[in-house]
Subunit: 250 residues, 2 copies
Amino acid sequence: MVQKVDSFTYTVEPFDDDFTGRLSWAVLGKHVLACAENHAGARGFDRLEKDGHRYLWVLSRIVFEMDEWPRRGERYTISTWIRQYYRYFTDRCFDVADANGKIIGRVFTIWAMIDAETRRPQVLEGLFGHTFDPFIEMDRPCDVRPFSRIRVNKEQAAETRHTYYSDIDENNHVNSIRYIEFILDAFPKSSFEGREVSRIELAYNSETLCGDTLQFFMEQAEDSDWHVLVRKNTGETVCHSAVTFKNTKN
Amino acid sequence: MVQKVDSFTYTVEPFDDDFTGRLSWAVLGKHVLACAENHAGARGFDRLEKDGHRYLWVLSRIVFEMDEWPRRGERYTISTWIRQYYRYFTDRCFDVADANGKIIGRVFTIWAMIDAETRRPQVLEGLFGHTFDPFIEMDRPCDVRPFSRIRVNKEQAAETRHTYYSDIDENNHVNSIRYIEFILDAFPKSSFEGREVSRIELAYNSETLCGDTLQFFMEQAEDSDWHVLVRKNTGETVCHSAVTFKNTKN
């Protein structure tokens, strides 16, 4: 029996939490990406070198929905599996369980594989044949609200920031998860007092290199929903995001 | 026999590394602080409430010396112990070992305990009596070069940046380790190509709150040594730092 789902258990260590004591988005996001890489690596498709070409997975979209947050000292488990693959994209799901096994969050992602040099997306079946087939898991639920249609009409940036050494990863670009920090940072600190972020979605459009300047355009979509557009100062769109707040219980 | 030293083993997970593939300073620093908290917590002195007062440990100085860096997928172990305590301060040491047990780094720290309200340092023996005595470990070596005399005469800031939600911790101020990221970010990315940071020291002078603006004044002290002074835009000094680069082997 082929193992389709891998699970990784973590503890909210000191300083893995934000100022409210909840697991931070940065740490959750980093672990989600690491689980994806470890799951793919254990099955031989975390990266690919073939016929003199090098291929990399790039994250195209990600949506997190968190019902509850683990707090400092608490354990949580992230499980991940592939739900499907298409011509150019593959869907990877995650769920987050608390120490009692109760599902407290879900993450849905879409990935493409690009040629490291040309940066063009590749036909997955062409590269991998039917390598993924035994690992497809369609039955385990990962129900998240579909991606939003994100629109921002604001012409004035709410925030501008530079990118630095600490923001970039092995691919020499700003790490996908760092944008979550940047986007949340564009809200005033009071936004996180008595409220928590329950959903974040991100659609990635282009890469940011070390030293680029980013501008954040924000618009309230509904009461608790914000749409955020991130652009380089050259005008190029980097990503679209939607952020949902909810009032904190107790 | 009382256990004086606690050890914690980690793996360099995907995205725990910087763009060169080495464990990042941010992750190493976070784990060092977490080890301190876990070691103190296991012995009942991670924090203190007494006579209606709440007391917290604050980091006064930290120096890291790293001979080698673990790389992605490699395991490393951080060990920590108390070396001594004085009227107002306590010395805590750490070493970092690679997967074979070879010591590849050392961290020396000085902490004070402050009243959470008045923010004034407290006489440690007054609060704790001789609680620390059984845990003092003076024999295990933790030889680091003494703290530098840090002087920066530059009047022009090399970098200015704001602080945000993601930068602050449970104490509602910018986390001590975040300054390491900020300080390294004040160097151009090329500083980290073919070179690595082998030593960082930090002396903390005052807190930074969310939303403060920080200015970074930098001066080359010797060939491979830089001194950095961090000030708020109000002029108040936040911390002093010295950063040493060395050429990367191979």
